[in-house]
Protein backbone atom coordinates (compact mmCIF):
# COMPACT_ATOMS: atom_id res chain seq x y z
CA UNK A 1 0.00 0.00 0.00
CA UNK A 2 1.53 3.24 -1.16
CA UNK A 3 -0.10 6.33 0.29
CA UNK A 4 1.32 9.78 -0.22
CA UNK A 5 0.41 13.42 -0.46
CA UNK A 6 2.09 15.26 -3.30
CA UNK A 7 2.39 19.03 -3.07
CA UNK A 8 1.46 20.80 -6.26
CA UNK A 9 0.10 24.12 -7.45
CA UNK A 10 -3.49 24.61 -8.49
CA UNK A 11 -3.71 25.15 -12.25
CA UNK A 12 -6.94 27.09 -12.31
CA UNK A 13 -5.92 30.69 -11.74
CA UNK A 14 -3.06 33.07 -11.16
CA UNK A 15 -3.25 32.78 -7.35
CA UNK A 16 -1.25 29.57 -7.40
CA UNK A 17 -2.66 27.99 -4.25
CA UNK A 18 -0.67 25.10 -2.85
CA UNK A 19 -2.49 21.86 -2.39
CA UNK A 20 -1.74 18.19 -1.90
CA UNK A 21 -2.95 15.52 -4.27
CA UNK A 22 -3.76 12.49 -2.15
CA UNK A 23 -2.42 9.47 -4.01
CA UNK A 24 -3.17 5.86 -3.10
CA UNK A 25 -1.37 3.16 -5.07
CA UNK A 26 -0.74 5.47 -7.97
CA UNK A 27 -4.24 6.88 -8.23
CA UNK A 28 -5.34 10.33 -7.09
CA UNK A 29 -8.16 9.90 -4.58
CA UNK A 30 -8.50 13.32 -3.02
CA UNK A 31 -7.25 16.81 -2.34
CA UNK A 32 -5.98 18.47 0.83
CA UNK A 33 -5.28 22.19 1.13
CA UNK A 34 -1.69 22.95 2.07
CA UNK A 35 -1.84 24.36 5.58
CA UNK A 36 1.81 25.42 5.71
CA UNK A 37 1.70 27.17 2.34
CA UNK A 38 2.11 30.95 2.51
CA UNK A 39 -0.59 31.67 -0.02
CA UNK A 40 -3.11 28.97 0.76
CA UNK A 41 -3.13 29.05 4.55
CA UNK A 42 -5.10 25.81 4.49
CA UNK A 43 -7.95 27.18 2.36
CA UNK A 44 -9.04 26.55 -1.22
CA UNK A 45 -11.76 27.76 -3.54
CA UNK A 46 -14.18 25.38 -5.21
CA UNK A 47 -11.91 24.97 -8.23
CA UNK A 48 -8.92 24.04 -6.12
CA UNK A 49 -10.97 21.55 -4.12
CA UNK A 50 -11.99 19.86 -7.36
CA UNK A 51 -8.59 19.96 -9.05
CA UNK A 52 -8.64 16.18 -9.31
CA UNK A 53 -11.93 16.22 -11.19
CA UNK A 54 -10.44 16.29 -14.67
CA UNK A 55 -7.62 13.81 -14.22
CA UNK A 56 -9.62 10.66 -14.91
CA UNK A 57 -12.62 12.29 -16.54
CA UNK A 58 -14.00 10.26 -19.44
CA UNK A 59 -14.24 13.40 -21.58
CA UNK A 60 -10.59 14.17 -21.19
CA UNK A 61 -8.76 14.22 -24.52
CA UNK A 62 -6.02 11.65 -24.78
CA UNK A 63 -5.02 12.22 -28.39
CA UNK A 64 -5.30 15.12 -30.79
CA UNK A 65 -8.49 15.11 -32.86
CA UNK A 66 -8.78 16.30 -36.46
CA UNK A 67 -12.06 16.98 -38.19
CA UNK A 68 -12.33 14.85 -41.31
CA UNK A 69 -15.54 14.80 -43.35
CA UNK A 70 -17.36 16.53 -40.54
CA UNK A 71 -16.26 14.05 -37.85
CA UNK A 72 -13.55 14.38 -35.23
CA UNK A 73 -11.03 11.59 -35.73
CA UNK A 74 -8.06 10.60 -33.56
CA UNK A 75 -4.74 11.72 -34.96
CA UNK A 76 -1.07 11.77 -34.06
CA UNK A 77 0.71 14.84 -32.69
CA UNK A 78 2.79 15.03 -35.86
CA UNK A 79 -0.28 15.00 -38.04
CA UNK A 80 -2.06 17.58 -35.89
CA UNK A 81 0.85 20.00 -35.58
CA UNK A 82 1.65 19.75 -39.29
CA UNK A 83 -1.96 20.57 -40.10
CA UNK A 84 -1.99 23.59 -37.75
CA UNK A 85 1.31 24.92 -39.14
CA UNK A 86 0.12 24.50 -42.70
CA UNK A 87 -3.24 26.18 -42.07
CA UNK A 88 -1.78 29.10 -40.10
CA UNK A 89 0.71 29.64 -42.90
CA UNK A 90 -2.07 29.66 -45.47
CA UNK A 91 -4.25 32.08 -43.49
CA UNK A 92 -1.32 34.41 -42.90
CA UNK A 93 -0.45 34.42 -46.61
CA UNK A 94 -4.05 34.96 -47.74
CA UNK A 95 -5.37 37.35 -45.09
CA UNK A 96 -2.34 38.79 -43.36
CA UNK A 97 -0.89 38.16 -39.92
CA UNK A 98 -3.43 40.33 -38.10
CA UNK A 99 -6.23 38.02 -39.13
CA UNK A 100 -4.94 35.58 -36.53
CA UNK A 101 -5.30 35.94 -32.76
CA UNK A 102 -3.66 33.94 -29.98
CA UNK A 103 -5.57 33.36 -26.74
CA UNK A 104 -3.65 32.03 -23.80
CA UNK A 105 -4.73 30.55 -20.49
CA UNK A 106 -4.26 30.92 -16.75
CA UNK A 107 -3.91 27.16 -16.67
CA UNK A 108 -0.65 27.51 -18.59
CA UNK A 109 2.67 28.27 -16.97
CA UNK A 110 4.45 31.61 -17.36
CA UNK A 111 6.89 29.84 -19.65
CA UNK A 112 4.11 28.52 -21.87
CA UNK A 113 2.58 31.99 -22.08
CA UNK A 114 5.95 33.43 -23.05
CA UNK A 115 6.31 30.89 -25.84
CA UNK A 116 2.83 31.58 -27.16
CA UNK A 117 3.38 35.32 -27.45
CA UNK A 118 6.73 34.61 -29.15
CA UNK A 119 4.90 32.43 -31.65
CA UNK A 120 2.36 35.18 -32.17
CA UNK A 121 4.76 38.10 -32.55
CA UNK A 122 7.93 36.60 -33.99
CA UNK A 123 6.61 33.74 -36.09
CA UNK A 124 3.21 34.94 -37.26
CA UNK A 125 3.91 38.63 -36.93
CA UNK A 126 0.85 39.84 -35.03
CA UNK A 127 0.35 41.57 -31.68
CA UNK A 128 -3.09 39.96 -31.30
CA UNK A 129 -2.25 38.16 -28.08
CA UNK A 130 -4.65 37.97 -25.14
CA UNK A 131 -5.82 35.76 -22.34
CA UNK A 132 -8.80 33.59 -21.48
CA UNK A 133 -9.87 35.95 -18.72
CA UNK A 134 -10.79 38.51 -21.36
CA UNK A 135 -13.16 36.22 -23.21
CA UNK B 1 -56.53 54.88 2.67
CA UNK B 2 -56.75 51.14 3.15
CA UNK B 3 -53.53 49.38 4.03
CA UNK B 4 -53.26 45.98 2.43
CA UNK B 5 -53.20 43.41 5.17
CA UNK B 6 -50.36 40.94 5.07
CA UNK B 7 -51.66 37.52 4.16
CA UNK B 8 -49.14 34.96 5.27
CA UNK B 9 -48.35 32.11 2.91
CA UNK B 10 -48.32 28.90 4.90
CA UNK B 11 -47.27 25.49 3.68
CA UNK B 12 -48.66 22.62 5.72
CA UNK B 13 -47.08 19.19 5.39
CA UNK B 14 -49.69 16.65 6.42
CA UNK B 15 -49.24 12.97 6.90
CA UNK B 16 -51.50 10.87 4.72
CA UNK B 17 -52.94 8.66 7.43
CA UNK B 18 -53.81 11.13 10.18
CA UNK B 19 -53.66 14.81 9.42
CA UNK B 20 -54.67 14.74 5.80
CA UNK B 21 -57.69 12.67 6.79
CA UNK B 22 -58.33 15.10 9.63
CA UNK B 23 -58.29 18.00 7.18
CA UNK B 24 -60.69 16.09 5.00
CA UNK B 25 -62.84 15.52 8.04
CA UNK B 26 -62.93 19.27 8.66
CA UNK B 27 -63.91 19.91 5.06
CA UNK B 28 -66.71 17.37 5.08
CA UNK B 29 -68.05 18.90 8.28
CA UNK B 30 -68.00 22.29 6.53
CA UNK B 31 -65.64 23.75 9.07
CA UNK B 32 -63.74 26.71 7.72
CA UNK B 33 -59.97 26.53 7.45
CA UNK B 34 -57.90 29.53 6.39
CA UNK B 35 -57.22 29.84 2.67
CA UNK B 36 -53.60 30.78 3.39
CA UNK B 37 -52.71 27.11 3.80
CA UNK B 38 -51.09 25.23 0.95
CA UNK B 39 -51.53 21.56 1.90
CA UNK B 40 -48.89 19.03 0.91
CA UNK B 41 -49.62 15.41 1.59
CA UNK B 42 -46.73 13.16 2.61
CA UNK B 43 -46.92 9.55 3.68
CA UNK B 44 -45.44 10.23 7.10
CA UNK B 45 -44.31 13.31 9.00
CA UNK B 46 -41.03 11.46 9.55
CA UNK B 47 -40.09 12.03 5.93
CA UNK B 48 -39.98 15.78 6.42
CA UNK B 49 -36.28 16.53 6.15
CA UNK B 50 -34.76 19.81 7.34
CA UNK B 51 -33.75 20.65 3.77
CA UNK B 52 -37.35 20.30 2.64
CA UNK B 53 -38.51 22.77 5.29
CA UNK B 54 -35.68 25.19 4.53
CA UNK B 55 -36.35 25.11 0.80
CA UNK B 56 -40.02 25.70 1.53
CA UNK B 57 -39.11 28.90 3.36
CA UNK B 58 -36.84 29.81 0.48
CA UNK B 59 -39.67 29.35 -2.01
CA UNK B 60 -41.75 31.96 -0.22
CA UNK B 61 -43.50 30.36 2.72
CA UNK B 62 -43.81 32.73 5.67
CA UNK B 63 -44.63 29.81 7.92
CA UNK B 64 -44.39 26.02 7.75
CA UNK B 65 -46.63 23.57 9.60
CA UNK B 66 -45.54 19.97 10.00
CA UNK B 67 -48.43 17.81 11.04
CA UNK B 68 -48.67 14.12 11.72
CA UNK B 69 -50.06 11.38 13.89
CA UNK B 70 -49.97 11.46 17.67
CA UNK B 71 -47.24 9.37 19.24
CA UNK B 72 -48.23 5.75 19.19
CA UNK B 73 -50.57 6.20 16.22
CA UNK B 74 -47.97 6.39 13.45
CA UNK B 75 -48.93 4.16 10.55
CA UNK B 76 -45.27 3.14 10.32
CA UNK B 77 -45.04 2.79 14.13
CA UNK B 78 -42.15 5.12 14.78
CA UNK B 79 -41.89 7.55 11.87
CA UNK B 80 -43.13 10.37 14.05
CA UNK B 81 -40.45 9.56 16.64
CA UNK B 82 -38.01 11.15 14.22
CA UNK B 83 -40.30 14.09 13.60
CA UNK B 84 -40.59 14.90 17.28
CA UNK B 85 -36.82 15.07 17.58
CA UNK B 86 -35.99 16.81 14.31
CA UNK B 87 -38.54 19.59 14.09
CA UNK B 88 -37.90 21.13 17.53
CA UNK B 89 -34.17 21.01 16.76
CA UNK B 90 -34.73 22.76 13.44
CA UNK B 91 -36.81 25.39 15.23
CA UNK B 92 -33.93 26.03 17.60
CA UNK B 93 -31.56 26.30 14.68
CA UNK B 94 -33.76 28.86 12.95
CA UNK B 95 -33.70 30.83 16.19
CA UNK B 96 -29.91 30.62 16.37
CA UNK B 97 -29.67 31.92 12.81
CA UNK B 98 -31.87 34.89 13.68
CA UNK B 99 -35.10 33.71 12.08
CA UNK B 100 -38.17 33.59 14.29
CA UNK B 101 -38.57 29.95 15.28
CA UNK B 102 -42.31 30.38 15.61
CA UNK B 103 -42.50 30.28 11.82
CA UNK B 104 -42.08 26.51 12.05
CA UNK B 105 -44.58 24.52 14.04
CA UNK B 106 -45.13 20.87 14.76
CA UNK B 107 -48.63 19.62 15.58
CA UNK B 108 -50.25 16.23 15.90
CA UNK B 109 -53.68 16.09 14.31
CA UNK B 110 -55.47 12.79 14.00
CA UNK B 111 -57.98 11.68 11.37
CA UNK B 112 -60.86 12.33 13.74
CA UNK B 113 -59.73 15.80 14.76
CA UNK B 114 -61.37 17.94 12.08
CA UNK B 115 -62.17 20.79 14.48
CA UNK B 116 -58.64 20.67 15.86
CA UNK B 117 -57.26 20.98 12.36
CA UNK B 118 -59.14 24.23 11.76
CA UNK B 119 -58.22 25.57 15.18
CA UNK B 120 -54.51 24.81 14.73
CA UNK B 121 -54.31 26.25 11.24
CA UNK B 122 -56.25 29.39 12.10
CA UNK B 123 -54.09 30.06 15.14
CA UNK B 124 -50.91 29.50 13.14
CA UNK B 125 -51.96 31.85 10.36
CA UNK B 126 -52.69 34.59 12.87
CA UNK B 127 -49.41 34.00 14.66
CA UNK B 128 -47.43 34.26 11.43
CA UNK B 129 -49.43 37.34 10.44
CA UNK B 130 -48.06 39.14 13.50
CA UNK B 131 -44.53 37.99 12.64
CA UNK B 132 -44.70 39.59 9.22
CA UNK B 133 -43.31 38.38 5.91
CA UNK B 134 -40.27 36.11 6.08
CA UNK B 135 -38.63 38.15 3.34
CA UNK B 136 -37.86 40.79 5.95
CA UNK B 137 -35.76 38.28 7.85
CA UNK B 138 -33.89 36.76 4.94
CA UNK B 139 -33.77 39.31 2.15
CA UNK B 140 -30.25 40.09 0.99
Amino acid sequence: MDYKNVLTTCVYCGCGCGLYLEVLDGRVIGVWPAKTHEITDGKLCIKGWNIDGFIYHEDRLKTPLIRKDGHLVEASWDEALSLVAEKLGTIKAESGPDSIAFLSSAKGTNEENYLLQKLSRAVIGTNNVDHCARL
Amino acid sequence: MAVEEFEPRIVAFMCNWCTYAGADNAGVARLESPANILPIRVMCSGRISPELVLRTFREGADGVLVMGCHLGDCHYSSGNHRTIKRIPLLKSLLGFAGINPERLQLEWVSAAEGPRFTQVTKAFVERVRTLGPLSEEVAA
Binding site: Y3, K35, I46 | K85, L89, S92, G98, L106, E137
Partner: protein, 275 residues
Protein backbone atom coordinates in the same frame (compact mmCIF):
# COMPACT_ATOMS: atom_id res chain seq x y z
CA UNK C 1 23.82 12.98 39.27
CA UNK C 2 22.93 11.41 35.95
CA UNK C 3 19.30 11.92 34.98
CA UNK C 4 17.61 10.36 32.02
CA UNK C 5 16.51 13.24 29.81
CA UNK C 6 12.73 13.40 29.72
CA UNK C 7 11.67 12.85 26.13
CA UNK C 8 9.76 15.70 24.65
CA UNK C 9 6.15 15.09 23.68
CA UNK C 10 7.00 14.72 20.01
CA UNK C 11 9.82 12.28 20.74
CA UNK C 12 7.51 10.24 22.95
CA UNK C 13 4.92 10.09 20.16
CA UNK C 14 7.50 9.00 17.61
CA UNK C 15 8.72 6.33 20.00
CA UNK C 16 5.17 5.06 20.57
CA UNK C 17 4.47 4.92 16.84
CA UNK C 18 7.71 3.03 16.23
CA UNK C 19 6.71 0.45 18.81
CA UNK C 20 3.15 0.04 17.53
CA UNK C 21 4.29 -0.27 13.91
CA UNK C 22 5.62 -3.68 14.80
CA UNK C 23 2.07 -5.02 15.03
CA UNK C 24 0.17 -2.67 12.75
CA UNK C 25 0.06 -2.25 8.98
CA UNK C 26 0.45 1.49 9.35
CA UNK C 27 -0.04 4.50 11.57
CA UNK C 28 -1.84 7.56 10.23
CA UNK C 29 -0.22 10.81 11.27
CA UNK C 30 1.41 13.93 9.88
CA UNK C 31 4.65 13.86 7.97
CA UNK C 32 7.03 16.74 7.42
CA UNK C 33 8.91 16.86 4.13
CA UNK C 34 10.73 19.60 2.27
CA UNK C 35 7.34 20.53 0.85
CA UNK C 36 5.49 21.01 4.08
CA UNK C 37 3.42 18.93 6.49
CA UNK C 38 0.70 16.59 5.23
CA UNK C 39 -1.21 13.46 6.29
CA UNK C 40 0.77 10.26 5.92
CA UNK C 41 0.58 6.57 6.62
CA UNK C 42 3.76 5.62 8.42
CA UNK C 43 4.83 2.06 7.82
CA UNK C 44 7.63 -0.07 9.21
CA UNK C 45 10.96 1.26 8.07
CA UNK C 46 9.80 4.84 7.61
CA UNK C 47 11.86 7.64 9.12
CA UNK C 48 9.83 8.60 12.15
CA UNK C 49 11.83 11.76 12.78
CA UNK C 50 9.56 13.17 10.07
CA UNK C 51 6.43 12.63 12.15
CA UNK C 52 4.79 15.87 13.29
CA UNK C 53 1.64 16.74 15.19
CA UNK C 54 0.87 20.16 13.70
CA UNK C 55 -0.81 21.58 11.68
CA UNK C 56 -3.95 19.53 12.28
CA UNK C 57 -5.58 17.66 9.43
CA UNK C 58 -8.67 15.41 9.71
CA UNK C 59 -6.75 12.15 9.89
CA UNK C 60 -9.84 10.01 10.48
CA UNK C 61 -10.83 10.73 6.87
CA UNK C 62 -7.61 9.03 5.74
CA UNK C 63 -8.41 6.05 7.98
CA UNK C 64 -11.89 5.79 6.55
CA UNK C 65 -10.60 5.77 2.99
CA UNK C 66 -8.03 3.12 3.76
CA UNK C 67 -10.44 0.92 5.71
CA UNK C 68 -12.73 0.89 2.71
CA UNK C 69 -9.99 0.25 0.17
CA UNK C 70 -8.28 -2.46 2.22
CA UNK C 71 -10.81 -4.52 4.23
CA UNK C 72 -8.12 -6.30 6.23
CA UNK C 73 -5.81 -3.42 7.04
CA UNK C 74 -5.06 -2.70 10.70
CA UNK C 75 -4.10 0.87 11.41
CA UNK C 76 -3.13 3.16 14.22
CA UNK C 77 -3.82 6.87 14.36
CA UNK C 78 -2.05 9.66 16.19
CA UNK C 79 -5.20 11.19 17.59
CA UNK C 80 -6.14 14.25 19.56
CA UNK C 81 -9.42 14.44 21.47
CA UNK C 82 -11.32 15.61 18.41
CA UNK C 83 -9.83 12.85 16.23
CA UNK C 84 -11.01 10.25 18.71
CA UNK C 85 -14.48 11.79 18.84
CA UNK C 86 -14.58 11.90 15.04
CA UNK C 87 -13.61 8.22 14.94
CA UNK C 88 -16.44 7.33 17.34
CA UNK C 89 -19.06 9.02 15.20
CA UNK C 90 -17.65 7.57 11.97
CA UNK C 91 -17.53 4.08 13.52
CA UNK C 92 -21.23 4.34 14.42
CA UNK C 93 -22.00 5.09 10.80
CA UNK C 94 -19.93 2.18 9.48
CA UNK C 95 -17.28 4.41 7.95
CA UNK C 96 -14.43 3.15 10.13
CA UNK C 97 -14.07 -0.34 11.58
CA UNK C 98 -13.34 0.07 15.30
CA UNK C 99 -11.76 -3.38 15.45
CA UNK C 100 -9.10 -2.30 13.00
CA UNK C 101 -8.14 1.08 14.41
CA UNK C 102 -5.93 1.74 17.40
CA UNK C 103 -5.95 5.16 18.98
CA UNK C 104 -2.55 6.53 19.94
CA UNK C 105 -3.88 9.48 21.86
CA UNK C 106 -2.06 12.75 22.36
CA UNK C 107 -3.12 15.65 24.53
CA UNK C 108 -3.44 19.16 23.21
CA UNK C 109 -1.52 22.00 24.81
CA UNK C 110 -3.25 24.66 26.87
CA UNK C 111 -2.81 27.12 24.01
CA UNK C 112 -4.39 24.71 21.56
CA UNK C 113 -7.30 24.06 23.92
CA UNK C 114 -7.86 27.80 24.22
CA UNK C 115 -7.61 28.39 20.47
CA UNK C 116 -10.31 25.79 19.85
CA UNK C 117 -12.41 26.70 22.88
CA UNK C 118 -12.20 22.96 23.40
CA UNK C 119 -14.22 21.27 26.14
CA UNK C 120 -12.19 18.05 25.96
CA UNK C 121 -8.68 18.68 24.61
CA UNK C 122 -7.50 15.10 25.08
CA UNK C 123 -8.69 11.67 24.00
CA UNK C 124 -9.87 8.90 26.31
CA UNK C 125 -7.14 6.63 24.96
CA UNK C 126 -4.39 8.99 26.03
CA UNK C 127 -0.90 7.64 25.47
CA UNK C 128 1.34 10.70 25.35
CA UNK C 129 0.98 13.98 27.16
CA UNK C 130 -1.06 15.13 30.13
CA UNK C 131 -4.64 16.35 29.92
CA UNK C 132 -5.00 20.11 30.16
CA UNK C 133 -7.98 22.08 31.35
CA UNK C 134 -10.70 22.85 28.81
CA UNK C 135 -10.39 26.08 26.87
CA UNK C 136 -12.67 28.94 27.84
CA UNK C 137 -15.97 28.97 25.98
CA UNK C 138 -16.34 31.05 22.86
CA UNK C 139 -17.68 34.40 24.12
CA UNK C 140 -20.13 34.66 21.20
CA UNK C 141 -21.65 31.31 22.14
CA UNK C 142 -21.63 32.09 25.85
CA UNK C 143 -23.56 35.33 25.29
CA UNK C 144 -25.88 33.93 22.65
CA UNK C 145 -28.98 33.52 24.82
CA UNK C 146 -28.81 37.23 25.61
CA UNK C 147 -28.42 38.23 21.97
CA UNK C 148 -31.73 39.40 20.51
CA UNK C 149 -33.10 37.76 17.38
CA UNK C 150 -32.58 40.82 15.20
CA UNK C 151 -28.92 41.01 16.16
CA UNK C 152 -28.42 37.32 15.46
CA UNK C 153 -30.11 37.82 12.10
CA UNK C 154 -27.86 40.74 11.14
CA UNK C 155 -24.79 38.82 12.28
CA UNK C 156 -25.45 35.72 10.19
CA UNK C 157 -26.67 37.60 7.15
CA UNK C 158 -23.42 39.50 7.13
CA UNK C 159 -21.36 36.36 7.70
CA UNK C 160 -23.08 34.23 5.10
CA UNK C 161 -22.93 37.00 2.53
CA UNK C 162 -19.19 36.32 2.44
CA UNK C 163 -19.61 32.67 1.50
CA UNK C 164 -18.00 31.73 -1.82
CA UNK C 165 -19.57 28.26 -1.81
CA UNK C 166 -16.24 26.48 -1.98
CA UNK C 167 -17.64 23.53 0.05
CA UNK C 168 -14.41 23.64 2.03
CA UNK C 169 -16.35 23.28 5.29
CA UNK C 170 -17.92 20.09 4.04
CA UNK C 171 -14.80 18.76 2.33
CA UNK C 172 -12.57 19.14 5.38
CA UNK C 173 -15.15 17.88 7.89
CA UNK C 174 -14.15 14.53 9.39
CA UNK C 175 -17.82 13.58 9.59
CA UNK C 176 -18.91 14.32 6.06
CA UNK C 177 -18.88 11.23 3.89
CA UNK C 178 -22.16 11.29 1.93
CA UNK C 179 -21.63 10.68 -1.74
CA UNK C 180 -24.84 12.54 -2.58
CA UNK C 181 -24.56 15.67 -0.52
CA UNK C 182 -27.74 17.60 0.23
CA UNK C 183 -25.81 20.85 -0.13
CA UNK C 184 -25.19 20.01 -3.79
CA UNK C 185 -28.71 18.88 -4.52
CA UNK C 186 -30.51 21.40 -6.76
CA UNK C 187 -33.77 20.32 -5.13
CA UNK C 188 -32.64 22.16 -1.97
CA UNK C 189 -29.96 24.62 -3.05
CA UNK C 190 -30.49 26.62 -6.21
CA UNK C 191 -27.40 26.32 -8.36
CA UNK C 192 -25.64 29.39 -9.66
CA UNK C 193 -26.20 31.81 -6.80
CA UNK C 194 -23.34 33.48 -4.97
CA UNK C 195 -23.59 34.05 -2.08
CA UNK C 196 -25.67 30.90 -1.66
CA UNK C 197 -29.22 31.61 -0.48
CA UNK C 198 -29.61 32.49 3.17
CA UNK C 199 -30.32 30.50 5.21
CA UNK C 200 -30.93 27.30 3.26
CA UNK C 201 -27.36 26.45 2.34
CA UNK C 202 -25.75 26.87 5.72
CA UNK C 203 -28.61 25.62 7.81
CA UNK C 204 -28.77 22.34 5.90
CA UNK C 205 -25.20 21.77 6.95
CA UNK C 206 -25.85 22.89 10.51
CA UNK C 207 -28.77 20.45 10.87
CA UNK C 208 -26.71 17.63 9.44
CA UNK C 209 -23.99 18.46 11.92
CA UNK C 210 -26.46 18.14 14.78
CA UNK C 211 -25.49 14.65 15.86
CA UNK C 212 -22.08 14.66 14.23
CA UNK C 213 -20.03 17.77 14.95
CA UNK C 214 -17.17 17.02 17.30
CA UNK C 215 -15.89 20.61 17.49
CA UNK C 216 -12.60 19.95 15.73
CA UNK C 217 -12.82 23.50 14.24
CA UNK C 218 -11.46 22.34 10.87
CA UNK C 219 -14.34 24.05 9.06
CA UNK C 220 -13.57 27.37 10.76
CA UNK C 221 -9.92 27.04 9.77
CA UNK C 222 -10.72 26.07 6.19
CA UNK C 223 -13.29 28.73 5.38
CA UNK C 224 -11.63 31.29 3.10
CA UNK C 225 -14.21 33.84 4.19
CA UNK C 226 -13.54 33.35 7.92
CA UNK C 227 -17.16 32.55 8.71
CA UNK C 228 -17.40 31.37 12.35
CA UNK C 229 -19.36 28.23 11.48
CA UNK C 230 -18.76 26.41 14.72
CA UNK C 231 -20.64 29.10 16.65
CA UNK C 232 -23.80 27.66 15.09
CA UNK C 233 -22.68 24.07 15.46
CA UNK C 234 -21.75 24.64 19.14
CA UNK C 235 -25.27 25.92 19.77
CA UNK C 236 -26.73 22.85 18.06
CA UNK C 237 -24.53 20.60 20.16
CA UNK C 238 -25.70 22.35 23.30
CA UNK C 239 -29.29 21.75 22.24
CA UNK C 240 -28.64 18.09 21.42
CA UNK C 241 -27.16 17.56 24.85
CA UNK C 242 -30.01 19.33 26.61
CA UNK C 243 -32.88 17.67 24.72
CA UNK C 244 -31.45 14.26 23.94
CA UNK C 245 -28.51 13.88 26.30
CA UNK C 246 -26.33 13.23 23.24
CA UNK C 247 -22.74 14.36 22.90
CA UNK C 248 -21.11 13.43 19.57
CA UNK C 249 -18.01 11.34 20.07
CA UNK C 250 -18.74 10.49 23.66
CA UNK C 251 -20.15 6.97 23.51
CA UNK C 252 -19.62 4.56 20.65
CA UNK C 253 -22.68 2.60 21.73
CA UNK C 254 -25.09 5.53 21.71
CA UNK C 255 -27.02 5.48 18.41
CA UNK C 256 -27.39 8.71 16.41
CA UNK C 257 -30.56 9.95 18.11
CA UNK C 258 -32.26 11.67 15.19
CA UNK C 259 -32.36 8.46 13.16
CA UNK C 260 -33.76 6.09 15.74
CA UNK C 261 -36.95 5.67 17.76
CA UNK C 262 -37.74 7.27 21.10
CA UNK C 263 -37.14 3.92 22.76
CA UNK C 264 -33.56 3.84 21.55
CA UNK C 265 -32.86 7.53 22.09
CA UNK C 266 -35.53 9.23 24.21
CA UNK C 267 -36.16 12.92 24.58
CA UNK C 268 -35.12 14.27 27.96
CA UNK C 269 -37.31 17.32 27.82
CA UNK C 270 -40.96 17.70 27.05
CA UNK C 271 -41.18 19.53 23.74
CA UNK C 272 -44.93 19.74 24.12
CA UNK C 273 -45.67 16.94 21.71
CA UNK C 274 -45.38 13.97 23.97
CA UNK C 275 -48.99 12.95 23.48
Amino acid sequence: MNEQPVPSIIEAIRQTVAERLQELDGVVGLRRSSEGVAPHVFQQGDDLSELEIVPRYPLTTVVSRLHKSFPEIRLGIVARGCDERAFVEMAKRNQIDPDRLFILGIACTAEEAEECHCAAPFPKHLVVGKPVAPGSPNPVVAEYDNTPLAKRNAFWRRQFAKCIKCYGCRNICPECFCEDCAMEDPAWVEPGLLAPPFPVFHLIRAMHMASRCVACRQCDLTCPAHIPLTVLYDLMRRDMEATLGYIPGEDIKAPPPLSVTLNEAPLLVNTGHMD
